[in-house]
């Protein structure tokens, strides 16, 4: 993504509310990611300036938590649950199916920018395992076929 396009004014509200509240770094980063879809370098530098927290510390926090990203993600972020129940119910097959269908690995985005894949900690929908979340929607009791169908539908919906 062209870094010049990062509109830093979008951060005004968040920074006005939290920049001077101690202990708010994670909250600020969460809002920042909600705004941009990831944490742009420019935003981190601005947060550093407004909060007085060193960029090395912000990056330290940002890279510690799995929630944060430093690259833009695809239109659909697939979060595949790695919980125990999903494991026991063969989530490995689902992971393989997604990789095969989309040609991407964990942490990658398809070339058309449509899908990103991320293996995540337990989503807590264990009774429906194996489970994945795509953006806000949860899909449970997955089978390879069902997974393919979901991906196909999303791809068609995007076109």
């Amino acid at each position: 993504m062209d870094s010049k396009k990062v509109d830093l004014s979008l951060l005004d509200g968040v920074l006005n509310e939290y920049a001077q509240v101690k202990g708010s770094l994670i909250t600020i980063l969460q809002h920042t990611q909600d705004i941009y879809g990831y944490l742009p370098k420019e935003a981190i530098e601005l947060i550093s300036e407004k909060t007085g927290i060193a960029t090395s510390e912000i990056m330290g926090v940002g890279t510690f938590y799995t929630q944060f990203r430093f690259e833009p993600v695809g239109k659909y972020l697939i979060m595949l649950c790695q919980g125990t129940a999903c494991h026991v119910n063969s989530s490995e097959l689902i992971l393989q199916t997604i990789k095969d269908e989309l040609g991407i690995d964990d942490g990658q985005t398809t070339e058309d920018g449509l899908f990103s894949l991320k293996c995540v900690a337990c989503l807590g929908c264990c009774s429906l395992s194996p489970v994945m979340m795509i953006n806000e929607d949860t899909y449970g009791s997955l089978t390879p076929d069902k997974t393919k169908k979901i991906l196909k539908e999303l791809r068609e919906a995007a076109q």
Partner: protein, 581 residues
């Protein structure tokens, strides 16, 4: 007549929101349609409860949006036969009737987004009683009498922690709720927050009063957006009613509430890491001592309890410590909630008094295996816990008895496994988890878990060598001894328990290069049983590498040299003709 749709995360994932929208599109009076949280019968979601005017409930399960019209017809006609195929079976009903619900008492019954429903059910009476009739010391006394221990897993006496925080010097104190439910396979806390947030708030207010805190903080994992949304709403409603804020119930007790969302780090379930994270830092554990009760959030005395612990507090205050202590065993009082999942027939939330056995939960309530394979083991306590084998199925649910197996009570995750689960693979799964979640601060955890994982990876690939089991054990004991925090200290448990109970499975991988459960792809071969194969060609068509040959209606053959062991043929075969060896 009221139509109530179960809308926990599980329910929504299963389609509950679609059902609700479909119902709203029928002729049913929209005011009669409402939501509730999670009843805990997750395997039957989406669930719709229809209350008649006498509040008698008809429970419909596995409802789809296509059933909305049928329900509308029933509402109009009162013809119950319309619902025959949807009504929950008697057998399934037992899943709930065999439970004893305290922490979950309102879950799946009340509308979590309406404080009035909570108040109508006797909510906020306990905090009123505590504030107006009891001293903080008396509150701590009742909690002491109840015998409740920390439901996060370790079972440490709650009263003791409260007392320590109360005794710590300082005006500014914090009461913190740990809702960073990170154990893969556990979702009790999420269900409580989504389904009964006011119960949590009330429990926390009582705790805050007891320790003398004016600030209450809930640390929720970010993966639980619905829980955060409902909790926020609940806090707003409680503020409006004056139940949060200054001079609650006209007393001089004031308490504010704050929600902090975690950002994806299991280690933040460890209390000092949680505090670091609350302060906006990397979630790396602090050295103990000092303990949070002396120096916690912002270096002030702080008390941290788990969601389920707080969910019991209002009930204890209302019913007395003795009532709670009447349930359970000598060392473990009250009830415990479990999230029962895996290869069990009925999966969901189960709350039972301590002292029941694992068999009671898995077979009596859970209905046994959902597959035709035998029960092999149950994993308890997630990455900090262990696998309890079939022969110990009659182990009593009690902190001590479970601890003696090498597993732990844990926060309540109970993942049931049948014979198709490889126990070395299971240990590898958990080590993969802890290695990824290790904060990286101490050597034992940062490098030790990684090295254990590498060893387990080698073993499951058939590259294990003589002495690996002993080396693993040596490393396990060393990590337990040397790691800085609970995450590292307990990380070896899944390895140690699987070695303890399934050593032969490790040996089979190492010596014979075989995976008895048929799960480790490097150690198995797929073959087609010519007697069972009908020659349907489905497997050949699904094989990604064209390793299967054969003609229609004739038995097929797998070329094992070409086979990449993806298992697709095994999954697609409708006749069980593809076998793993």
């Amino acid at each position: 007549m009221r139509i109530v749709i179960g809308q926990g995360s599980c329910g929504i994932a299963a389609g509950a929101e679609k059902v609700r929208k479909a119902l709203l599109n029928t002729n049913i009076n929209k005011d009669d349609i409402s939501i509730t949280g999670c009843i805990g019968m997750c395997y039957l979601e989406p669930i719709v409860d229809i209350y008649d005017d006498n509040n008698k409930v008809t429970r419909l399960v596995q409802v789809s949006e296509n059933d909305a019209e049928t329900i509308a017809q029933f509402v109009e006609s009162g013809d119950k036969s319309l619902l025959d195929k949807l009504i929950v079976s008697d057998e399934d009903s037992e899943f709930l009737t065999k439970q004893t619900r305290i922490a979950l008492r309102n879950c799946g019954i009340l509308n979590p987004e309406k404080i009035d429903e909570y108040i109508g059910a006797g909510g906020y009476e306990a905090i009123k009683k505590a504030l107006t009739e009891m001293t903080p010391e008396e509150v701590i006394d009742v909690v002491k009498t109840s015998g409740i221990g920390g439901r996060g897993g370790a079972g440490f006496p709650t009263w003791f922690k409260w007392n320590a925080a109360r005794s710590s010097e300082g005006e500014e104190k914090y009461l913190i709720c740990n809702a960073d439910e990170g154990d893969p396979g556990a979702f009790m806390d999420r269900a409580v927050i989504e389904s009964d947030p006011h119960n949590l708030i009330e429990g926390m207010l009582i705790g805050a009063y007891a320790i003398g805190a004016k600030h209450a903080v809930v640390y929720v994992r970010a993966e639980y957006p619905l829980a955060i949304k409902r909790l926020k709403k609940a806090i707003e409603q409680a503020k409006e009613k004056g139940l949060i804020g200054n001079n609650i119930f006209g007393t001089d007790f004031s308490c504010d509430f704050m929600i902090k969302a975690g950002a994806g780090a299991f280690v933040c379930g460890e209390e000092t890491a949680l505090i670091e994270s609350l302060e906006g830092h990397r979630g790396m554990p602090r050295l103990k001592p000092p303990f949070p009760a002396q120096s916690g959030f912002w270096r002030k005395p702080s008390n941290i309890n788990n969601v389920e612990t707080f969910a019991n507090i209002a009930w204890i205050i209302n019913n007395g410590g003795e009532a709670f202590a009447a349930m359970g065993t000598e060392g473990s009082k009250g009830t415990k909630v479990f999230a029962v999942t895996g290869k069990v027939k009925r999966s969901g939330l189960v709350e039972i008094p301590m002292g029941k056995t694992l068999r009671d939960v898995i077979f009596d309530i859970g209905g046994g295996m959902k597959t035709d394979k035998d029960f092999k083991a149950v994993q308890m306590g997630g990455p900090s816990g262990g696998c309890i084998p079939a022969e110990l199925i009659d182990t009593v649910i009690d902190y001590k008895a479970l601890g003696a197996t090498g597993a732990i009570m844990g926060s309540g995750g109970m993942v049931v496994m049948d014979e198709s689960t490889c126990m070395v693979g299971m240990a590898k799964f958990f080590l993969d988890f802890t290695a990824k979640e290790s904060c990286g601060k101490c050597i034992h955890c940062r490098i030790g878990t990684k090295r254990m994982l590498e060893m387990l990876e080698r073993i499951t690939k058939g590259e294990g060598k003589e002495g690996d089991i002993e080396l693993l054990e040596e490393l396990c004991y060393s990590i337990k001894d040397g790691a800085l925090c609970g995450l590292g200290q307990t990380a070896p448990n899944p390895v140690l328990t699987t070695i303890k109970y399934f050593r032969d499975e490790y040996e089979a991988h190492i010596k014979d290069k075989k995976c008895p459960a048929g799960e480790c792809s490097d150690l198995i071969e797929y073959k087609i049983d010519a007697d069972k194969c009908k020659g349907c060609t489905l497997c050949a068509r699904n094989c990604p590498v064209n390793a299967i040959s054969g003609t229609v209606k004739n038995p097929h053959v797998i070329d094992t040299d070409k086979c990449i062991k993806c298992g697709k043929c095994y999954t697609v075969c409708k006749f069980g003709a593809v076998v793993k060896e």
